[in-house]
Amino acid sequence: MAEAPSHVDVWLGSSLGLMKGVTLDPLRCTNYLPGGLSVSQTDKNHEMLCMCRQRETLYVGLRRGVVQAFDSQLKRFTLECDVTSGVGTLVGVARHDQILITCTDRGSLSFWPPEEKKWEREVGKETCCMAVTDSPDSRVATGGRENPLKLWDTSQLSHTPIFTAKNVRPDRLGLRVPVWVNRVVFSPDHSGPQSILVTGTGYGEVRMYDTRAQKRPLLRTEYGGEPITALTMSPDGRYCVAGNSVGELVRFDLRAGGGVAGRYKGFGGGVTAVDVSGDGSILAACGLDRYLRTYSLDRPKLLHQVYVKLQCRCLTIGENYPRANDGGEVQSEGEKEGDDSDEEDVWASMATVGETTRTGNLRNERTNILNPLSFPLHVHES
């Protein structure tokens, strides 16, 4: 680790608060810590539980109730803010426009607009997950144990959920099916308001909901009986990849009745996070066995296996991965970024027709470069 790499393919949030940047070709793992903090000063309170990416900034939620902003270009932590005040642990963090959205396991969904007062919603006693859509009319989905899937509007005015899922019908024995929404993810449907969601239950079931159509799931598939602990969608919304607590990573084809369309082998322990690259070719997953594994999405082939020494609960594939030229040329990086911004200007000036952009990733928002959040707390100096 003599020289930090210029590009990072996958970002992982570890159990000791180290941000790990992994480059896959050549294989290298670099650790980043908030300025002034060393490895020997960290502990489990710094565990990174949830992560979201907005362009080149990563927002991570820590166990001690703090959200940190990490700039993936500058490769350092820029901001930190206390969001829970010691009550509950974070289960989700997201950024929509300028608003930071956090959710705790006690059910406190908070919206933090810059320079304004935050507002909160109570989403249920035990919440396990939260997801936010990328589209302008943003929605937040939450769910938990005996806490059904709910959709919330991000405007300050609505106090009740816009959608509450109905529990599925009783099972074959006539028994009520317990509710445990462990993971939720929005389907990246570009054509309209985001209404298709996929949830993973604590009983090993993956369910697809269309909030415009009905309150019960459209599709239910079961895999094993172990809780689904990681869930993601492919960019075309066709496949959903789920990982469970015993390390089974499976791809479901949602347009073909939810059948299994591939098993990604290799995990020795539970899968904690999974992500698909912007072009839908690479799947990255990390787990409790302290490994990061990348697979090609279509053919379940293991591409890379990196030992990252710490358990990681969240990961994001970097913005520019996979790169077209895999020679790892440092100079082309700068040029590429230049190209991107030029292209973006061109696109931004054109009238949108609702088609996908060249970069194709809804996570890249067509806004100006971010103004730093003006939370009145600790700014890292490094």
Binding site: S15, L18, V246, G268, G269
Partner: protein, 408 residues
């Protein structure tokens, strides 16, 4: 009714009979009740005549029946005949086909040739070494389990700050920082019997500050919070099947990992030759070869069952070994060696001893019990086999692809 006695080797009576050229045939009772045997019996009668004429050389074993598969094949010198052991209480002779005869002969020839080549190579190397004298290349190292092992990237490097910090802040940190005194709760199935009771007795005696409680079918998930309240630090649940202990679930409290082991090879002190008497001194714990990250976690779990500070005057030692060690000065190295098949297993042994005879040699006296454990899974949090998250699950088809890869 005949006693079902499983036969792998012919008994001494049978061996003598065969050596004299005799053939043991099944009794009439067996022949009538098992059709397959009847057919073989007829074959045997035919070969008996052949056998009676040709002199039989000494019996030599070619292949051995595996437990559960009731066939053994012995080859008689000359490879004309094979003695096939079928059902218990008799041995039958069957005539080998030509192909089999040829194969057996070819195998023997091949083996002779290989041994000869090996001998020649060794002599060649010796000659070269003598010729070159001091410039000779170093002696070839014998292949051991450790040096043929598949390189594991999770092997812990001693000064890795991430691992050090991870271990400083894990669930066992309280024990290693001397903030917590180990107190072990021993549990078992609803109605333990036979060897399980014996094992529990032994564990109760051996592990200082342990208590045995009858569970009477109480749910583990309900027992755990109560045990936490009563300051227990670990729960060991011995599972039983057919009056024999076959599994061990080790739950570290209050929120610690749960390890599930397969338990075999239990031998109590009483059954070990020359065993010693267990004293009440605090024992020393030796963890051998727990080198990988997973091995570290499991090793720390074992250590956390015993008091932190041992009483060396008591000379009581517990060893947990995963593999044969190559160094001879190591305590366990002089006691038992394990073949490669057992290298995924953890041996638990209890010694009294180390009377140092000189600088290198150590005398040991085993106190028992002796156990062999194999890690099945390591689950985060306390016992919750359905909904808990697993740190490591043994997946045979994925993980056991190489005989030289060890996860601990």
């Amino acid at each position: 009714m005949f006693r079902a006695r499983f036969l792998l080797w012919p008994s001494s009576y049978e061996q003598r009979a065969l050596a004299r050229g005799g053939v043991l045939l099944p009794t009439r009772k067996i022949m009538t009740s098992y059709p397959r045997v009847r057919k073989l019996g007829e074959m045997a009668k035919k070969t008996a005549r052949v056998l009676a004429r040709s002199p039989l050389g000494p019996l030599r074993k070619v292949s051995r029946g595996r437990p559960g598969n009731k066939v053994s094949l012995w080859c008689v010198r000359g490879a004309q005949l094979a003695v096939v052991g079928c059902l218990p209480s008799f041995v039958m002779a069957a005539r080998l086909g030509d192909v089999q005869v040829r194969r057996l002969a070819a195998w023997r020839e091949e083996k002779k040739r290989k041994m000869k080549e090996k001998r020649e190579r060794r002599e060649q190397r010796q000659k070269e070494r003598e010729k070159l004298g001091e410039d000779a290349p170093p002696k070839l190292e014998p292949r051991t389990i450790e040096n043929t092992r598949v390189v594991d990237e999770t092997v812990v490097v001693p000064d890795d700050e991430e691992v050090i910090q991870d271990e400083k802040t894990d669930e066992f940190a309280g024990y290693f920082d001397h903030r917590v005194t180990p107190k072990v709760l021993l549990l078992t199935v609803k109605k333990p019997s036979g060897k399980t009771v014996l094992l529990l007795n032994e564990l109760n005696k051996c592990i200082p500050n342990s208590e045995f409680k009858l569970r009477w079918g109480a749910e583990l998930k309900k027992v755990i919070p109560e045990a936490v309240e009563r300051d227990f630090t670990d729960i060991l649940v011995v599972n039983e099947d057919q009056k024999r202990p076959n599994g061990l679930v080790a739950i570290h409290l209050p929120s610690g990992p749960t390890a599930h082991f397969k338990l075999t090879g239990f031998k109590r002190g009483y059954d070990i030759r020359g065993h010693g008497k267990v004293t009440q001194h605090k024992p020393e714990v030796i963890l051998n070869n727990f080198t990988t990250r997973l091995g570290h976690s499991v090793g720390r779990m074992f250590a956390s069952w015993f008091p932190q500070v041992p009483q060396f005057t008591g000379r009581r030692v517990f060893t947990f070994t995963t593999r044969e060690t190559s160094s001879s000065s190591d305590i366990t190295g002089c006691f038992k060696t394990f073949d490669a098949f057992l290298c995924q297993f953890i041996s638990f042994m209890h010694y009294f001893g180390y009377i140092f005879r000189g600088a290198e040699k150590v005398g040991l006296q085993e106190l028992g019990p002796r156990l062999t454990l194999k890690l099945r899974s390591l689950q985060e949090g306390t016992f919750d086999s359905k909904h808990g998250e697993y740190i490591w699950v043994h997946k045979r088809k994925q993980m056991d692809t190489s005989r030289r890869k060890f996860h601990l």
